[in-house]
Symmetry: C2
Subunit: 262 residues, 2 copies
């Protein structure tokens, strides 16, 4: 049974759903969550503006606001994600299934685009996505590409990798260029060392995947970047979704085509 | 002699230029300036995000930063505008030719798109612009269209008006749609009362212009909106350019075509 975004959120809210959201509510836009105290919100928003490929901004709340009006006006960001992470001064201290014990009136929530959107578009175009075929998490790597800093927020871009034939890589680039709010076109293809990746078989996050003869690794800016950057800024409090446990919106992936803002 | 953006800024910096910038450095992007204390910067940036037609964001500095790296990396926003305005708690208290006496390390500068960009494009397309023909300031009006608020920042959209024949109005809409960072397509044409304007001959800002037989008034979201909204929020300190005395960038107007971010 295909669920809608609202149904996934309701299941998460009731506590019935505590697993990853990959493949749930196909066609509905999923999003990364980053929550910071209001006194860091300007710098984090500026960081996102400076680095739109890893940090495509879908929605931002006012201080204390937990409703993402642009993408899911009846949602509650404190309870509608299956699992969260809580960091104090950069240290992971909790992985709750809701944020009711952590929410404060001075918190600002940012929702950022996610690669699930373009993966759906790639599969629709019959372009194979290896980690999905292999039932793994996408491999992700820290690069030597510095994000443009803003205040406390600084650090390297994290990328995800999908092996493709050169022809599929061209097609994928043409498709992904049209999704600027879901990381856009790949930032690199070919030699991993050119962007500071020493061992393609040892990703920093996620799982390694097979690269077959005739395929090249293709790298996309990754939504883990803003989380890694926010963590390393060590704010007193930082709330995020748990990896793979995304916020599912009411927006359809296809509505993102060629859009730069929601 | 046609000046460049850098030449206009240099003339303003030296004190040689203290007049309006309309018509100076033709083809170079001009911008509105709004400066607020850092503790209001997040809410003001959110307001701009919520209201991209009146508030198209071209560049934002970090707290204390006075260099607009995206649009003029060798400029100094404190001295490169011919005349400024200084508001304390919403009251105009000074109109200096530089901000050196007012600048603080906690100030954040926002540069916002300006109608000069699309007026140049209209003139290039042989579409007459009445207030330029008549040597007047463009007429501007408060409307009954509420901007989407963000924190302290709230208020009606201000619009500018140019009378056009229906055919020119269609052509103008097609041109302006392609300049989302310069207010984009008109927001209304025809009956002024439909958007809360009682008397088209009595603009709230600027000068009235003649509307000839066969012409309709065409209304664009106006860059005075963010200034009016910022003023009515009565921040302890607010710095802006003086009306018509814009910041001239190094970017060419034509580079803005179809762009949503710089």
């Amino acid at each position: 049974m295909r669920m809608t975004g609202a149904e996934v959120r309701r299941a998460a809210r009731s506590g019935e759903l505590t697993t990853q959201t990959s493949g749930l509510a196909p066609g509905f836009l999923q999003a990364n969550l980053v929550v910071v105290p209001a006194d860091l919100a300007f710098e984090f928003m500026l960081f996102c503006r400076h680095n739109p490929q890893p940090c495509p901004l879908l929605d931002v709340t006012e201080p204390g606001g937990f409703v993402p009006f642009a993408v899911a006006p009846d949602a509650d960001l404190r309870v509608d994600i299956p699992r969260y992470r809580v960091y104090q001064n950069g240290t992971l201290i909790d992985e709750p299934t809701d944020l009711m014990g952590w929410w404060r009136d001075d918190l600002v929530a940012f929702l950022l685009g996610c690669s699930f959107t373009f993966e759906t578009a790639l599969l629709d175009a019959k372009i194979p996505v290896r980690h999905i075929e292999q039932g793994r998490n996408v491999p992700m790597y820290r690069t030597n590409i510095a994000c443009k800093p803003a205040g406390l927020f600084r650090g390297p871009m994290v990328v995800s990798m999908r092996p493709l034939t050169p022809r599929h890589a061209d097609e994928a680039a043409a498709i992904c260029t049209r999704f600027p709010l879901a990381h856009g076109a790949p930032i690199h293809r070919g030699d991993p060392r050119a962007i500071g990746i020493e061992d393609i078989d040892r990703p920093d996050f996620g799982d390694p995947v097979e690269i077959r003869p005739g395929e090249v690794p293709v790298f996309w800016a990754c939504g883990v970047t803003p989380q890694a950057v926010a963590m390393s800024a060590r704010p007193p409090l930082l709330l995020t979704h748990a990896p793979g446990h995304m916020f599912v919106t009411d927006v359809r992936d296809r509505e993102l085509l060629d859009r730069w803002a929601i």
